[in-house]
C-alpha cells in the first residue's frame, strides 16, 4: 500500500509499512521526538511526536501511515502541549544543563530549545538517583535518564547483549544493568557498543570525552535540532 498523507496542508508520499514519522522525515518534515530513532523498534513512550491524525492524537513514531490521512503536526495547541511534556521530563529527573557535559549535544535540551521552553513550569521531583562510574570507559548518571528505552533496544537489537532493562513502575521507574552486581563494570558492555552512544541525554556518557568540543561549538549550539535530526535520519535511511 502506498499513497499520500496530508501533513499541515503538505501532501506527503509514503511507502508500505511506513509510520507517519518515517514518511514525514523522508519528506523533510520534522516531528519532535526523543524515544524514536530510525532503525530501532518504535517505542511510542515519550509522546513528544504526538500528532493529530484525522482529529485524534496518535504517536507519529508508531502509527502507520495510510492513504488520505489528515495529520496536524504544527499547531499552537500541539506546540504548547509538547512543551509541557518536555517540562515533565525535566522535572522528573535532575537535569542541570549548565553543569552537564552533554550540554549542547543533548537532544532533550535541543527539543526544549525547539519548543521554546523557557522554564520548567512544574514543581521538581528532585529524585535521589545514583551514578554508576564503575565501568572504565562508560558512565551512567541516572539523574538524566528519561526512560526512552533506546539503550535497552540498542543493546538488545544492535549489540546482541541485553545490557540494560527498565524496572519499577510509575514514577519509580529505573534503568537497570544486567549484571550480577547491577553495576556496569560487571556487564559485558563495551565502548564500541551502540548502546554506549545512543543516549539522547547525558545519562550514558563516554568518559574522558566530555569537553573535547567547547560549549558554544556543539551540535545544537550551531544548528537547530530539526535540521540535525532530518539530516541524520535521512542519512541513516540511505545506509
Amino acid at each position: 500500500m502506498t499513497g499520500t498523507i496530508d501533513i499541515d496542508g503538505q501532501s506527503i508520499p509514503f511507502e508500505d509499512g511506513q509510520t507517519i514519522i518515517e514518511a514525514a522525515t523522508a519528506a523533510g518534515v520534522y516531528i519532535p521526538h526523543l524515544c524514536h530513532r530510525p532503525g530501532y523498534t518504535p517505542h511510542g513512550s515519550c509522546k513528544l511526536c504526538t500528532v493529530k491524525v484525522n482529529g485524534r492524537n496518535c504517536s507519529a513514531c508508531t502509527f502507520p501511515a495510510t492513504d488520505g490521512q489528515t495529520v496536524i503536526n504544527n499547531s499552537d495547541e500541539l506546540e504548547q502541549d509538547r512543551r509541557r511534556i518536555t517540562q515533565m521530563l525535566f522535572v522528573e529527573g535532575n537535569h542541570m544543563c549548565p553543569s552537564c557535559e552533554k550540554s549542547g549535544n543533548c537532544q532533550l535540551q535541543g527539543v526544549a530549545y525547539h519548543l521554546n521552553m523557557l522554564d520548567n513550569h512544574y514543581p521538581h521531583f528532585y529524585p535521589r538517583r545514583e551514578m554508576d562510574a564503575s565501568h572504565p570507559d562508560i558512565l551512567i548518571d541516572h539523574n538524566r535518564c528519561i526512560f526512552c528505552n533506546l539503550c535497552v533496544r540498542a543493546s538488545k537489537e544492535k549489540d546482541g547483549k541485553n545490557v540494560f532493562g527498565i524496572a519499577g513502575r510509575g514514577i519509580n521507574k529505573r534503568l537497570i544493568v544486567n549484571s550480577p552486581s547491577g553495576q556496569l563494570k560487571d556487564s559485558n558492555m563495551s565502548i564500541e557498543d551502540c548502546a554506549a552512544h545512543i543516549c539522547p541525554t547525558g545519562a550514558i556518557l563516554i568518559k574522558r570525552t566530555g569537553y573535547q568540543v567547547p560549549i558554544g561549538q556543539r551540535i545544537y549550539d550551531q544548528k537547530h535540532i530539526s535540521e540535525v535530526a532530518l539530516a541524520q535520519e535521512n542519512a541513516h535511511g540511505q545506509d
Binding site: S45, N178, P180
Partner: protein, 592 residues
C-alpha cells in the same frame, strides 16, 4: 532452593511465558525473590536477569526484600476508608508492633496498604499471605494479632476470618437462571457456528468491561485472521476500585463463564484459553481449578468436547497486584510473563495478541452473557435494555447504602431506582464506573445506566452527605499515580504531578491560578496518555471540578502567589546546622 526451583520449573515446562507464575511461587515460598533464585531462573529460562527484576519490581505482590512470614495488606479503596480503614490500620499497626510499610525486626510480620481488593461490600478488607480478610474490626484484629504471635499456620486460623459473601441482592436476566452445563456449546454446534455468531450479533451484546465494543464484531475480526493459533482470554483482573461482580460471578457461575469461553473458542478457532485472575482473588483459584477439572471429566473441555470433535482447554493465570493488567494488551503482556505495559496499537489483539497470535480478550460478564445468548438466541437478549445498550448490567454496589452487593438491571435503569433498591439515603453523589468513570451529583439521579448515558464496568459507589468530594478525588488520584505503569511521559509524570497539585490545593497551599493549572494538567494527561489508564486518570478531578468548582476554589488562599512547598520547613536543616531557632531563622510562608 535449587530443588524447589527445579520442581516449579518442571511444572512450568521451562517456559519463559510462565515467569510470573514462577515468581509467585518463589515469593510464597521465600517471602521475597532472592537474588540466587533470580540467577537460577535466568539461566533455566534463558532470559536476562534484568528482565526478571523488571517483572518483580512491576508487580506489587512481588518483592526483592523479604516480607514478614505473615504479610498483611490492607485495602486502600475509598470504600474501605469510609468503613474506618485508617483507624483499623492504625490499630493493626499498634497491635502487631509494626509500622505501615515495614517488616517487623523479627521478620514475623509485615504490614502495608494495597489497592482495592474487591471486597468493598464487606470491608474494611485486607489480605494475609494473599488470602482475603473481610469485615475487619478491633475484635478480629485482636484475634489475628494473637494468632500471629502464636505463629499459628494460616490454614489453622478460624474460617470466619476469611469468609467472603456473595451478597447477591437482585438477579436479572442472567443471574436469575444459569444455563445447564454444556447447553451453550450444544446449542451453538446444533445451530452452526456462523449462525450462532449471527445470533450474538443480533443480541447487540457489547463488552462488559466498560468500553462497550461489540462482542460479535470482535469475535468475527479474530475468526477472520488466518494464523497458526488463536487464543481466548477471559479478563478477570477486576481491579477498578468498587468493582467485585466478577468475584461473585466466578464464585457462583464459573461453569457458565467457561462455557462462554468455549463457545468463543469454537467460533474463532482457538484451542487454548486463559482465565487471567487478579492476584487478590487467589482464594477462588482452587475452586476454579476444580470446576475446570470437572468440565474435563465430563467432556466439556479437552480434545473432543461433547464428542463433537471440538478441542479446547483453559489455563488459569494469576496476576500479582497491578491494576494496569486489566487493560487488554497489558494483560496479554502479563500472560507472557512480562511487566504489564500496554502495547502500541495497531495492531490490535484480534490481529496480534498472545504470542502475536489473534486473540480475543473479554470480560467475565461478557462470556457469561454470550453463553446464555447461544442458548436463548439474540432476540431474547436484545429484548431487554435500550436500543444502543442491549441486555443487562451486573453492578457491584458499595459505599453508603444499607444493602451493598450485587444487583443486575436491564440497561436504561435510572440511577434513582438503583439507589432506592440498595437502601441509599441522604445521597451526595455516586461514582459510576469507578475512579476511571464519572462522579455524578444528586442533581443527576434521573440519568440512566447505559452506554449512551452513564457507561460502567460495574462499579457503583454511593456517597452520602457526610462525605467530602475532595477526599474522594484525592483517594482516586493517588490510586492512579500508584498504578501508572510508567511507560509514557504524560501518565508516568503527569499522574504524580496531579497528585502533587491536588494535595497542594487540599492541604491549603494553593493560591490563585492553581485550580486552572490543575485543570490544564488534567487535560494534558487525558489527551496524551498511551492507554486508558492515563486517559481516565484525571476523571476524578475533572468530573468533580465540573460539578463543585467552589469546593476547589474555597481551598485557595487569597494571595497572588505562594510557594508550592513549605518554605519554613525547608529551612529546618539550615537551622539545625546553624544551631539557631530565633525569629530571624524563620520565614513566613507568605508576606502577610
Amino acid at each position: 532452593m535449587k530443588t524447589f526451583l527445579k520442581t516449579i520449573l518442571i511444572d512450568a515446562d521451562y517456559q519463559p511465558v510462565r515467569l510470573l507464575a514462577l515468581l509467585r511461587k518463589v515469593q510464597a515460598q521465600y517471602r521475597h525473590i532472592p537474588a540466587a533464585a533470580i540467577d537460577i531462573l535466568a539461566e533455566a529460562l534463558q532470559i536476562p536477569r534484568a528482565q526478571i527484576i523488571a517483572v518483580v519490581e512491576f508487580y506489587s505482590f512481588l518483592h526483592l526484600t523479604p516480607q514478614g512470614r505473615y504479610d498483611i495488606l490492607i485495602s486502600d479503596s475509598i470504600t474501605d476508608h469510609m468503613l474506618d480503614k485508617e483507624n483499623i490500620l492504625g490499630y493493626l499497626s499498634s497491635m502487631l508492633k509494626v509500622d505501615v510499610g515495614e517488616v517487623r525486626a523479627d521478620g514475623l510480620v509485615s504490614l502495608n496498604n494495597t489497592s482495592c481488593t474487591g471486597m468493598c461490600d464487606q470491608g474494611p478488607a485486607g489480605l494475609v499471605n494473599g488470602l482475603p480478610l473481610t469485615r475487619l474490626d478491633r475484635p478480629r484484629i485482636d484475634e489475628i494479632a494473637a494468632l500471629i504471635e502464636q505463629q499459628r499456620d494460616i490454614s489453622d486460623w478460624p474460617a470466619y476470618l476469611f469468609a467472603v459473601e456473595d451478597n447477591l441482592h437482585k438477579a436479572g436476566l442472567l443471574l436469575n437462571a444459569p444455563i445447564e452445563k454444556g447447553a451453550a456449546i450444544q446449542a451453538a454446534l446444533d445451530r452452526g457456528l456462523e449462525a450462532t455468531l449471527a445470533e450474538l450479533d443480533r443480541s447487540g451484546l457489547r463488552g462488559r468491561g466498560g468500553a462497550g465494543f461489540k462482542t460479535a464484531a470482535k469475535w468475527r475480526f479474530c475468526a477472520e485472521e488466518s494464523a497458526e493459533r488463536h487464543y481466548v482470554v477471559c479478563n478477570a483482573d477486576e481491579g477498578e476500585p468498587g468493582t467485585f461482580k466478577d468475584r461473585v460471578l466466578l464464585n457462583m457461575h464459573a461453569d457458565q463463564v467457561f462455557e462462554g469461553m468455549t463457545l468463543a473458542a469454537a467460533i474463532i478457532g482457538a484451542k487454548q484459553g486463559f482465565l487471567y485472575l487478579r492476584g487478590e482473588y487467589l482464594h477462588l483459584y482452587d475452586k476454579l481449578q476444580a470446576v475446570l477439572e470437572q468440565r474435563r471429566a465430563t467432556g466439556l473441555l479437552g480434545d473432543n468436547i461433547l464428542g463433537r470433535g471440538l478441542e479446547f482447554d483453559i489455563e488459569i493465570c494469576l496476576g500479582a497486584g497491578a491494576y494496569i493488567c486489566g487493560e487488554e494488551s497489558a494483560l496479554i503482556e502479563s500472560l507472557e510473563g512480562k511487566p504489564g505495559i500496554p502495547r502500541n496499537r495497531p495492531p490490535y489483539p484480534v490481529t496480534s495478541g498472545y504470542l502475536n497470535q489473534p486473540t480475543i480478550v473479554n470480560n467475565v460478564e461478557t462470556f457469561l452473557a454470550a453463553a446464555k445468548i447461544a442458548v436463548l438466541g439474540g432476540d431474547w437478549f436484545a429484548g431487554f435494555g435500550t436500543e444502543k445498550s442491549a441486555g443487562s448490567k451486573i453492578l457491584s454496589i458499595c459505599g453508603d447504602c444499607a444493602r451493598p452487593g450485587i444487583y443486575e438491571y436491564p440497561f436504561g435503569i435510572a440511577i434513582e431506582q438503583i439507589l432506592h433498591d440498595c437502601g441509599a439515603t441522604d445521597v451526595l453523589g455516586v461514582q459510576i464506573g469507578g475512579p476511571s468513570g464519572t462522579f455524578i451529583s444528586n442533581q443527576e439521579f434521573k440519568r440512566q445506566l447505559a452506554f449512551e448515558d452513564l457507561a460502567t464496568g460495574g462499579s457503583f459507589i454511593v456517597f452520602n452527605n457526610s462525605r467530602n468530594v475532595l477526599d474522594i478525588a484525592q483517594n482516586f488520584t493517588h490510586f492512579f499515580a500508584h498504578e501508572s505503569c510508567g511507560f509514557c511521559t504524560p501518565c508516568r509524570v503527569g499522574t504524580s504531578l496531579l497528585k502533587k497539585q491536588l494535595d497542594k490545593i487540599i492541604d491549603g497551599h494553593g493560591s490563585a491560578g492553581d485550580v486552572a493549572e490543575l485543570e490544564s494538567l488534567c487535560q494534558l494527561v487525558k489527551n496524551y496518555s498511551h492507554c486508558g489508564l492515563g486517559q481516565t486518570a484525571a476523571n476524578p478531578i475533572l468530573t468533580t471540578l465540573q460539578r463543585y468548582p467552589d469546593l476547589y476554589q474555597n481551598r485557595l488562599k487569597n494571595i497572588s502567589y505562594e510557594p508550592g512547598f513549605d518554605l519554613d520547613g525547608a529551612l529546618e536543616i539550615a537551622r539545625r546546622m546553624a544551631r539557631r531557632n530565633d525569629a530571624g531563622a524563620h520565614l513566613s510562608q507568605v508576606e502577610e
